[in-house]
Amino acid sequence: MTVESGRIGAGAERSAWGVVRQGLSLTPEFRKGLGVTLVLAVIATSGKIIVPLAVQQTIDTGIATGHPDLPYITRMVAVCAMAVLLTAAAAYLMNVRLYKATESSLATLRVRGFRHVHDLSVLTQNTERRGALVSRVTNDIDQISTFMQWGGLMIIMAFGQLIIASVLMFVYSWQLTLLVWACFVPLMIALPRFQRWLSAAYTRVRERTGDMLAAVSESVVGAAVIRAYATERRTAERIDQAVDANKAAQVKAQTIVGFVFPLTEIVAALAIAGIVLLGVRLGLSGDITAGQLVAFLFLITLFVAPMQTATEVLNEAQNAIAGWRRVLGVIDTPADVADPGDDGTAPPRGPISVAFEDVTFAYPGGPPVLREVTVDIPPRSRLAVVGETGSGKTTFAKLLTRLMDPVSGRVLVDGHDLRGVRFSSLRERIVMVPQDGFLFDGTLQENILYGKPSATREEITLALTELGLADWLEGLPAGLDTPVGQRGESLSAGERQLVALARAYLADPDLLLLDEATSAVDPATEVRLARALEGVTRGRTAVTIAHRLSTAENADEVLVFDGGRLVQRGPHAELVGEPGVYADLHASWISAARS
């Protein structure tokens, strides 16, 4: 099993069988009691031959002779009716068992996949489009369940049906059985080819649907830009194209289905005609009774349904295996930045020290963006990180919070390698506020509570007051109960950052790391926030990344990054005096910030 690390596995390395085997091993709920379900399926399937049997009996015991044996027929019909009810009951039990087993096992798999996505590093998560990642725990799983509940069952039933029908046919007449098979075998051979066409057509439909959804989403997400630049017509054209391409693909797939599906009818008619032609001749030589011959005509119908649905079933089987592959692909992707769990250490809370030792980092397939960074962050220090865009500040932050691991070198927390520190401890002690203040669809309160689920409403209000945001809160129409909208879209960009900051503040970490967390906030509020944070982080460590160099001026120490290297460090007063990157940055900041 070679899963390229740093990417989410496509599961392509596995054979179809391997997928099914591993899939089943991951879903014990499904395997349990599968035997009983299969027995029930066999009973249910055998119900299909009751009608042909009864027809044959009726004709042979009466009709053909011209004097129906009425009491016998009545008895026989009654027995058959009982058998029908029995098989229906078996089918019911089988269905319920199957639904329960598949749904339970797939729910487990779904949750497991979801959890594992969160265990993957951000970097790995970002190698895939969001929609595709979501699919792995939604549509892909649904595809497996549709197959297990319908297609898989159809395969079992179809095989059962074909076998039982063939056995009965063989008992009646081996010649006619051969004839029937001679008619259907070419179709069976052709079916996989039809299925390949169909599957190619469906793949195209899926792709076009993806394009269509992406195009449609632009009209919603880009609403403001589209209006501001009056590009409605151009956007509409793009959407129409995508919608029409999707439609064309759907119609094409449907046309293939439309032609393949009724082929079976024609083959069945051929078989029936053949049976009549040959059967009559066999009958004349006494090899077969009239009832048996007529029963054949009914038995043919048992061949029709399996053939008609075969392309769909094969297609679903393929989809299910592909879905399973993708789900297993996620689960098998190594959690590249893994929680050491119980093997890890959990340094006690309190003043925290961090050290980078010769840390180098490169994004997969790229050049190093951080080179041999060595730095100590003593407890209770206030650190500012500055540098041009792309100099590696965010990368530094992500390594410090262990969102990623260094390519070489070590990051130490209280002397312990970060890789050996339990997440439960790490996430409690070190919290980063990223620039994009992502909010969940809910109220302000729910979002802030995310930082500390056990907090009371009073604690939240207190936290906001400490951050100097009480006035702002009061100005909101519903205060803490103001809905923020999906991703926080009903707040202003700056307000979203305030909420994100309050959320982290409430979490009360030993080290708070702000990565341009107040870039959209006004200076007065920003300064108020900085001061409030300082007040409460006294005794804590604070690392701030900001373009606004006022933060640097206030810090105990400044780290200056340039092209991935730590080029300068020291207090502002010192750095600003010596020629270098910092002095340049500071000069342009000064000219930007001062009147």
Binding site: E103, V243, T389, E489, N554
Partner: protein
């Protein structure tokens, strides 16, 4: 909730179907014709089989010989009906699909046209996720019953011909049929009534599970940095388990009714055999007829379910249609005037008594100011004071609740469609890039040559990194520009605005992700060409504000003051607090440093001896 097959839902559902039938008359007519052929031929094939049984098979067994004529007639009948039936099936399926997909595509085009037509204020009121599902799953659901509809019509034809056929064959057998088929139909109805609310619920839950996954993966950075993976998994697990239970509930109903629906026709065939044998003994029918009726029952048992499929899809269809229709019926389109704008020279802008509200919350109150042609005005105000909202009004993304915005003296509402975009370019606070090339994103359909695009990129300080991209201007930026960093995206958005050489340029905090050095270069560039246009800029940074001829200070949705930077600094305390926050901060710190031991709160008016700014002034010089 309309999730039961009540008669009201039935009526609405039929109305929806009526809409589709009227829209796609021709396709529907042919689909129904094909389906009727299929229905008729299904009955005919049973009849052919009965005929062959009686006149070929039984005749041969009776007499010990067979005439070639009868034999070949039988074969021809069987093959002929099958061929026609196959054609009917193919036609029905293909045409039904055509109709369904055409209607879906039509709804999607209409809905997105509406999204593009409706004002932004309407978008503000509707969550993104909802709008996306209106265009995708609701448009799909609305027309889902179209797939089985022609078949259902064919089944009606089938039942009708079958009924007549059986009636002519034998009254007693017909009685069995008239008992069994309504029973199947009734069972189907009960089935769908029980099933459809459960299916609707399962579908709802499926959407919710997907939404949670989406939101949770979108917010992965927050989840990780706060270590809330377990919490998120719990949230997901709860919903996933609800979905599991809902699916099992669906499965139980399906598991019960499917076998019943299969057993019922089988019992019917058995009844036909019993009754038929009786009739045969009295000589009322011949064996061929018995086989024919029995065969007919076998053939009919499956298609008859198509009626149920249509019924099953109706509630979903009604809900989907309702949601699509709500979008299509949404009022509040922007109306445009006819007044042509003067196309050259910088534009002038007037804002008069403008108020604006999101829902019931008014966020702008009688805002007034003006920007003379060629001037630069800075909009300054605390977070959430309404700057972005105001900016949206300036380019008529939304219309004011009251008051007016005038461009060159003309109310924006009197300008023709496209008239504003011709003169005004906005760089919004939130960058949005299309899934297109760099060039496509900047030109947005404007016929500009590469030279001009590069010039715009240079001005936006984006030429460097664009040149470094694999295909230069032809590089695809990916879904919403995911392959670029925030600062890079912002600079492309800026280039998009300046490439149009607008007469009025509006920047909403458009350089927040750009570092000060790059920002300074951008600002110099803008200043160099600023004679060509009027500029409104939302900014906090002094350098940007310093570019402005005038400042409008916005506080809690009101214009608190306006004037030059110096005037405001002098007389407006709120403004002073805001823009000098960094300097004051520094001053206080300087003081704090001098008396760290005293640990008292410092005032702003302490001596400024140690003002570090002095050194920087030298650097700047």
């Amino acid at each position: 909730m309309a999730n039961k097959v009540t008669s009201a839902v039935m009526r609405q559902g039929l109305r929806v179907l009526g809409v589709a039938i009227r829209t796609e008359k021709v396709v529907f007519t042919f689909a129904v014709l094909a389906s009727a052929v299929y229905g008729g031929m299904t009955v005919a094939s049973a009849w052919a089989l009965g005929w062959a049984t009686q006149n070929v098979v039984l005749a041969a067994f009776d007499r010990g010989e067979v005439t070639t004529g009868a034999l070949w007639t039988g074969v021809l009948l069987i093959m002929g009906t099958a061929l026609l039936k196959a054609l009917g099936v193919a036609g029905r399926r293909i045409l039904a699909g055509l109709m369904q997909y055409r209607m879906q595509a039509r709804s999607r085009r209409d809905v997105t046209k509406q999204y593009l037509r409706l004002p932004l204020s309407w978008h503000h009121r509707h969550p993104t996720g909802q709008l996306l599902s209106n265009a995708s799953s609701d448009a799909e659901a609305a027309w889902a019953p179209l797939a089985p509809l022609p078949m259902a019509v064919g089944v009606v034809v089938m039942l009708f011909t079958a009924a007549i056929g059986i009636l002519f064959t034998d009254l007693m057998l017909a009685l069995v049929g008239f008992f069994i088929f309504p029973a199947i139909a009734l069972l189907n109805l009960v089935y769908q009534r029980r099933l459809s609310p459960l299916v609707t619920r399962a579908q709802q839950l499926r959407a919710e599970v997907s939404e949670i996954a989406h939101e949770s993966f979108d917010g992965a950075l927050v989840v990780k940095t706060l270590g809330r993976e377990e919490l998120e998994t719990d949230r997901f697990r709860r919903r996933a388990h609800e979905l599991r239970d809902a699916n099992i509930a669906v499965g139980k109903v399906r598991g019960l009714f499917d076998p019943l629906l299969e057993a019922l026709p089988t019992l019917g065939v058995l009844a036909v055999l019993a009754v038929g044998a009786l009739r045969l003994s009295t000589g009322s029918i011949d064996s061929g007829q018995l086989v024919q009726v029995a065969y007919l029952f076998t053939l009919l048992s499956f298609p008859i379910r198509a009626l149920g499929w249509v019924l099953a899809e109706l509630p979903r269809s009604v809900v989907g249609w309702g949601r699509v229709q709500a979008v299509l019926d949404a009022e509040g389109s922007m109306t445009y005037g006819e007044t042509a704008s003067r196309p050259d020279g910088p534009a002038s802008l007037e804002v008069k008594d403008v108020s604006y509200a999101y829902g019931d919350t008014e966020v702008l109150h009688e805002v007034s100011f003006d920007v003379p042609a060629g001037r630069t005005v800075a909009l300054v105000g605390p977070t959430g004071s309404g700057k972005s909202t105001l900016v949206q009004l300036l380019v008529r993304l939304v219309d004011p609740a009251s008051g007016q915005v005038r461009l060159d003296g003309v109310d924006l509402r009197d300008l023709p469609y496209g008239g504003i975009a011709e003169s005004v370019a906005l760089v919004p606070q939130q960058t949005f890039l299309f899934d297109d090339t760099v060039r496509g994103n900047i030109a947005l359909g404007l016929p500009v040559d590469d030279e001009r695009v590069w010039r715009a990129l240079r001005l936006a300080q984006a030429d460097g990194f664009v040149a470094g991209l694999g295909d230069g201007l032809g590089t695809h930026v990916g879904e919403r520009g995911t392959t670029l960093s925030g600062g890079q995206r912002q600079r492309l958005a800026l280039a998009r605005a300046v490439v149009r050489e607008p007469r009025l340029l509006i920047l909403d905090d458009a350089t927040s992700s750009v570092d000060p050095q790059v920002e300074a270069r951008i600002l110099y560039g803008l200043r160099d060409r600023s004679q060509a246009s009027t500029v409104v800029v939302v900014a906090y940074r002094m350098a940007t504000i310093a570019l402005a001829d005038e400042v409008v200070f916005l506080d809690r949705g009101r214009v608190a003051d306006r004037g030059t930077h110096a005037e405001l600094l002098d007389r407006c305390p709120g403004y002073r607090d805001l823009v000098t926050a960094y300097e004051r901060e520094e001053l206080e710190r300087a003081t704090l440093d001098t008396d760290t031991d005293t640990d008292t709160d410092t005032d702003t008016d302490t001596d400024t001896d140690r003002r570090p700014g002095l050194e920087e002034e030298e650097i700047r010089a």
